[in-house]
C-alpha cells in the first residue's frame, strides 16, 4: 500500500463520529462573517449597516488576485461592520448579520437531483469557481480559482483529490464521501477540465474502507478518475506527502505542487465546486465534525459559516465538565479556542472537545537527544536543533536550517519524550525569518 516514506507518527484515530450522517444545524440568531475567510487579501464589503440580505447574496468582494468572494450564509439585516474577535481573540473586520427567516436567492438550485452540466468551457468553470467564493476546504482556505489557474511555464499533469483526513477525530470528509460521492466525482471532473488534466486520483486512508469501496464503484463511470487507498499514517493528508505517496515525486523545497505537475484539492472543495457550477450555489455552509470523548452527542453538522462555536457545542449536548481544550480543526494542527464565541469559517473542518487529561502538557525536561523528533519529521528537518536556535533567537541560522520548510504538522512535539514545546519555537522562528526576508526584499 502506498505511503510517504519519511517521518510520520501514529496518533490514536478516535473517529467517534464516523457513523453519524450529516445533519443540518439550525440557523443561529446572529452570524459573524469575517472578511478574511481565506488566505490572501481580505474581501471588501459590498453591503452597509442596515441592509437586508438574503442567503447566498454577495456581501463582500474579492480584493486582489489571491482573494475570494464572500456570500451571506443567512437572510436578515446587517447589524454592523466592525472588528470582532476571531478564533485567535484578535479583533478582525467582520459583517455581523441579525438573522430573520431563511430566504435564499432565486438562482440557487436547492434540489438534491444530480446535475451534470457539460457544456462549460475551461474559462467559464474557473470564472464560476471564483464567483462563488470557493476556497480550499481542508482548512488552508486557499482560493480555489487561483489553484486551478496554472501559471505560465508550468504544466499540470495530475489532479489529486485529498480524501485522506489524517487528523484524529475528524470525519466530515468521510461522511461527504459516503453521502455525496457522485457529486464529488462530478466536481472533480470540473476541476480536471479547468486545469486541464486527464487523470485524477482520489487518495483515501485505509481506515475508511466503506468510502474507498463506494467511490471505487462510482468512479468506474468516470474515465480518468481512480481511487488510491493509502496507509494510515499522519500526516498523509499534507499535500506534499500526498503527492509523494501517489506520484513518487517530491515537491522541491520552497516550491509548489505545480512544480512537479500536481494540483491537490480537498474532497470538500470538489463538492463545493460541484455545488458552485451545477447548483449555482456559492460557498456559505460546510460540514463540521463536532466530537469529543465526553460529548453527549458526536455528530457531523452542516453549518452556515458565521455560526458561533457555542451553537455547535450546544447542539452536541453542551460543554462537558472535564473539558480542557476546545479545538477548531483537529488535535494535531488545530487551534485551541480561548472562548466559544468565535464563529465558524470556511476553513473550520471540526470542533474537537478534548478532556483536560487528554490534552494536558506535561513538565518540560531537557532534550535527551533521542532524535525521535527528527525521525518523525516528514520534511526531514531537525526540530530539536530548530528549537534551540529559536530559543537563542538565532533567526538567520533558522533560515539556513530550512525552518520555512516546516509544515507545522506537530509530529515533533507529539513524539518528544521530554515534552518539549518544539513547534512553539519553530513557529516563532518562521515568523521572524519571514520578517527578515521581507525586510531584505525592501
Amino acid at each position: 500500500m502506498k505511503t510517504f516514506r519519511k517521518g510520520g507518527v501514529h496518533p490514536a484515530e478516535n473517529k467517534i463520529s464516523s457513523g453519524s450522517s450529516i445533519l443540518d444545524l439550525p440557523v443561529p440568531g446572529l452570524v459573524t462573517v469575517h472578511l478574511s475567510q481565506h488566505l490572501g487579501v481580505p474581501a471588501q464589503p459590498v453591503v452597509d449597516k442596515g441592509d437586508s440580505v438574503r442567503t447566498g447574496q454577495l456581501i463582500a468582494k474579492s480584493a486582489g488576485f489571491v482573494s475570494a468572494n464572500i456570500h451571506s450564509p443567512v437572510s436578515g439585516t446587517v447589524q454592523k461592520i466592525e472588528p470582532v474577535p476571531d478564533i485567535t481573540g484578535y479583533p478582525k473586520m467582520a459583517i455581523v448579520i441579525e438573522v430573520r427567516g431563511d430566504e435564499w436567492i432565486e438562482t440557487i438550485d436547492r434540489t438534491d437531483t444530480i446535475v451534470r452540466p457539460d457544456k462549460l468551457s475551461r474559462e467559464e468553470i474557473i470564472a464560476r469557481i471564483s464567483e462563488m467564493g470557493v476556497v480550499g476546504m481542508g482548512g488552508a482556505t486557499f482560493p480555489s480559482h487561483v489553484k486551478v489557474s496554472v501559471p505560465k511555464g508550468k504544466k499540470a499533469e495530475i489532479l489529486i483529490i485529498n480524501g485522506v483526513e489524517c487528523e484524529p477525530y475528524l470525519t466530515s470528509d468521510h461522511r461527504l464521501m459516503l453521502e455525496k460521492g457522485e457529486e464529488i466525482l462530478i466536481g472533480a471532473g470540473f476541476l480536471m477540465r479547468a486545469l486541464p488534466v486527464d487523470q485524477a486520483v482520489i487518495g483515501i486512508e485505509k481506515n475508511k474502507p466503506d468510502a474507498i469501496e463506494h467511490l471505487r464503484k462510482l468512479s468506474s463511470g468516470y474515465p480518468g478518475i481512480r481511487v488510491e487507498p493509502l496507509k494510515v499514517k499522519y500526516p498523509q493528508g499534507g499535500e506534499k506527502q500526498l503527492i509523494k505517496a501517489i506520484t513518487g515525486r517530491e515537491v522541491p523545497s520552497g516550491g509548489l505542487p505545480i512544480d512537479v505537475g500536481a494540483v491537490v484539492h480537498n474532497i470538500g472543495t470538489a463538492f463545493a465546486v460541484y455545488e458552485a457550477i451545477a447548483k449555482n450555489k456559492p460557498l456559505f455552509e460546510r460540514v463540521v465534525t463536532v466530537t469529543g470523548k465526553s460529548l453527549a452527542k458526536n455528530a457531523n453538522f452542516k453549518v452556515r459559516i458565521g455560526t458561533p462555536v457555542s451553537s455547535l457545542i450546544e447542539a452536541a449536548g453542551g460543554l462537558p465538565d472535564d473539558t480542557g481544550k476546545v479545538i477548531s480543526g483537529g488535535p494535531m494542527m488545530g487551534r485551541a479556542l480561548p472562548g466559544l464565541n468565535a464563529p465558524v469559517t470556511k476553513g473550520t473542518s471540526g470542533i474537537v472537545v478534548m478532556k483536560a487529561n487528554e490534552s494536558v502538557r506535561k513538565t518540560v525536561m531537557n532534550c535527551i537527544r533521542c532524535a525521535r523528533c527528527a525521525s518523525a519529521c516528514p520534511m526531514g528537518l531537525e526540530p530539536y536543533f530548530l528549537m534551540s536556535l529559536g530559543d537563542a533567537r538565532r533567526w538567520e541560522e533558522m533560515e539556513t536550517a530550512r525552518a520555512l520548510d516546516c509544515m507545522e504538522c506537530g509530529s515533533c512535539s507529539f513524539t518528544c519524550p521530554s515534552n518539549r514545546p518544539l513547534l512553539d519555537y519553530i513557529r516563532i522562528g518562521k515568523t521572524n525569518v519571514n520578517r527578515i526576508l521581507k525586510a531584505r526584499k525592501s
Partner: protein, 335 residues
C-alpha cells in the same frame, strides 16, 4: 463555561504520545536484567554489592548536586542516574572496594553529567567517564579480575585471574605463539555464556544480546550503532587474522572477549552522547570499532572499548554538524 473552568490555549499539537524519559530509562534497566542475572550467577556477592553501591551513590549524588549545588529541581526518578549506576557497575570488577565505587559515581554524575548542565547536556558517556577515571587512578584494583564461579561468595577477597584479552596481550608480549595461547583461553561456548573473568556486565555475550534485541524491539535503540561497531571489529580483526593467524586471533574471539558487546549495545548507544542521524551513527560506530581494534592489537592496554567510545563521543558534535538528515524536496544546487 464557568469561571473555574477556563479553556486552555496552547500551540498545536494538542495531544502527545505516552512516551517519556522515564519509560525509556526503565526499558534500558529491564534490558540490563539478563546481564545482571548472569553477573550474580558468576560473581554472586561481589556483583550484588558493587551494583547496589553504584546505583545508590549515583542517585544520591545527582539529588545532592541538583538540590544544593545547582539549586535546580532534582528529577531523581527519571531513571537516568540509576542507568548510569548500573552501567558503571557493569564496567568494573566485582571486587572493587566500596569507596572506589563511590568516587567513580561522583566523577560520573558530578563531573561528567551535572557539571555540563544535567540530563541531556553531557558530551561524554558518564558511566564510561567514571570508569576510565577509576582505571587511570586505581590501575591495580581496576585490573584485578575475580574468577567466575569461584569468587561467588567472596567480595574483596575474591580469587582473581586474567581476562581472555589480558591473557592474550601478556602472552603475545612474551612471544608465545597463538596455538599455545589458545589452550589457556576459555572455550568460545563458555565465553558466550559468560564463564570467564571480566567486569560485571561484559562477560555474557548471550545476556547482552538478549538485552539488545529487547531494546531494538522496544525502539529504544536502532541497529545502526551496534552493527557498525561489531561489523568494523569483525572486518578489522578478520583481515588481520586472515593475513597472519599466528599473530592474531579470529574475529569471533574479539566479539566474545572484553567489553565490546557491552560497549556496542549499551554504552555507545546512549542517546545523549551519540549522533542524531542514522548515517552519523554508522560513522560513529565505525570509528569506535576501528579505535577499539587499534588499542587492542597495537596499544598498551588489553581492552580499548571505553577509550574508543569516549574519543568518538568527542567527535559527535562534528559528525552532527556535517551529517544532516536528507530533507524532503531538497534542491541540490549544481555548479
Amino acid at each position: 463555561m464557568s469561571a473555574t473552568n477556563l479553556l486552555t490555549v496552547s500551540h498545536s499539537p494538542h495531544e502527545y504520545t505516552s512516551e517519556s524519559v522515564q519509560k525509556i530509562m526503565y526499558r534500558v534497566l529491564i534490558a540490563m536484567l539478563p546481564a545482571f542475572a548472569v553477573s550474580l550467577i558468576f560473581f554472586g556477592l561481589g556483583a550484588l554489592i558493587v551494583t547496589a553501591v553504584a546505583v545508590v551513590s549515583c542517585m544520591l549524588f545527582e539529588y545532592l548536586i541538583a538540590r544544593f549545588l545547582l539549586k535546580i529541581k532534582p528529577s531523581l526518578w527519571d531513571g537516568s542516574a540509576a542507568v548510569t549506576g548500573v552501567l558503571l557497575a557493569f564496567n568494573v570488577p566485582s571486587n572493587l572496594p566500596v569507596w572506589m565505587i563511590v568516587v567513580g559515581s561522583l566523577v560520573a554524575i558530578g563531573v561528567a553529567k551535572m557539571s555540563f548542565g544535567g540530563l541531556g547536556k553531557n558530551p561524554f558517556n558518564p558511566a564510561l567517564a567514571g570508569r576510565v577515571f577509576l582505571l587511570i587512578s586505581f590501575p591495580a584494583q581496576m585490573t584485578s579480575w575475580p574468577k567466575a564461579v569461584e569468587s561467588r561468595f567472596a567480595y574483596l577477597d575474591a580469587t582473581t585471574g586474567a581476562t581472555p584479552l589480558g591473557i592474550l596481550k601478556e602472552g603475545l608480549k612474551n612471544g608465545q605463539p597463538m596455538s599455545d595461547l589458545m589452550k589457556d583461553l576459555p572455550e568460545y561456548s563458555q565465553m558466550f555464556l559468560g564463564n570467564m573473568s571480566g567486569s560485571l556486565g561484559e562477560i555474557s555475550a548471550l545476556a547482552l544480546l538478549i538485552g539488545g534485541l529487547y531494546l531494538i524491539w522496544k525502539k529504544v535503540i536502532t541497529w545502526h550503532i551496534p552493527v557498525s561497531i561489531l561489523g568494523t571489529v569483525v572486518l578489522f580483526t578478520g583481515l588481520l587474522w586472515l593475513i597472519n593467524p599466528d599473530q592474531y586471533t579470529d574475529p569471533l574471539f574479539h566479539l566474545l572477549a572484553g567489553g565490546i558487546m557491552l560497549g556496542a549495545i549499551f554504552m555507545a548507544t546512549d542517546m545523549v552522547t551519540s549522533p542524531m542521524t542514522p548515517a552519523g551513527q554508522i560513522i560513529f560506530g565505525i570509528g569506535i570499532g576501528f579505535i577499539t581494534c587499534l588499542i587492542r592489537i597495537f596499544g598498551a592496554y588489553p581492552e580499548g572499548v571505553s577509550f574508543a567510545i569516549l574519543i568518538m563521543n568527542a567527535l559527535v558534535p562534528l559528525i552532527d554538524k556535517y551529517v544532516k538528515p536528507k530533507r524532503f524536496g531538497e534542491v541540490r544546487k549544481n555548479g
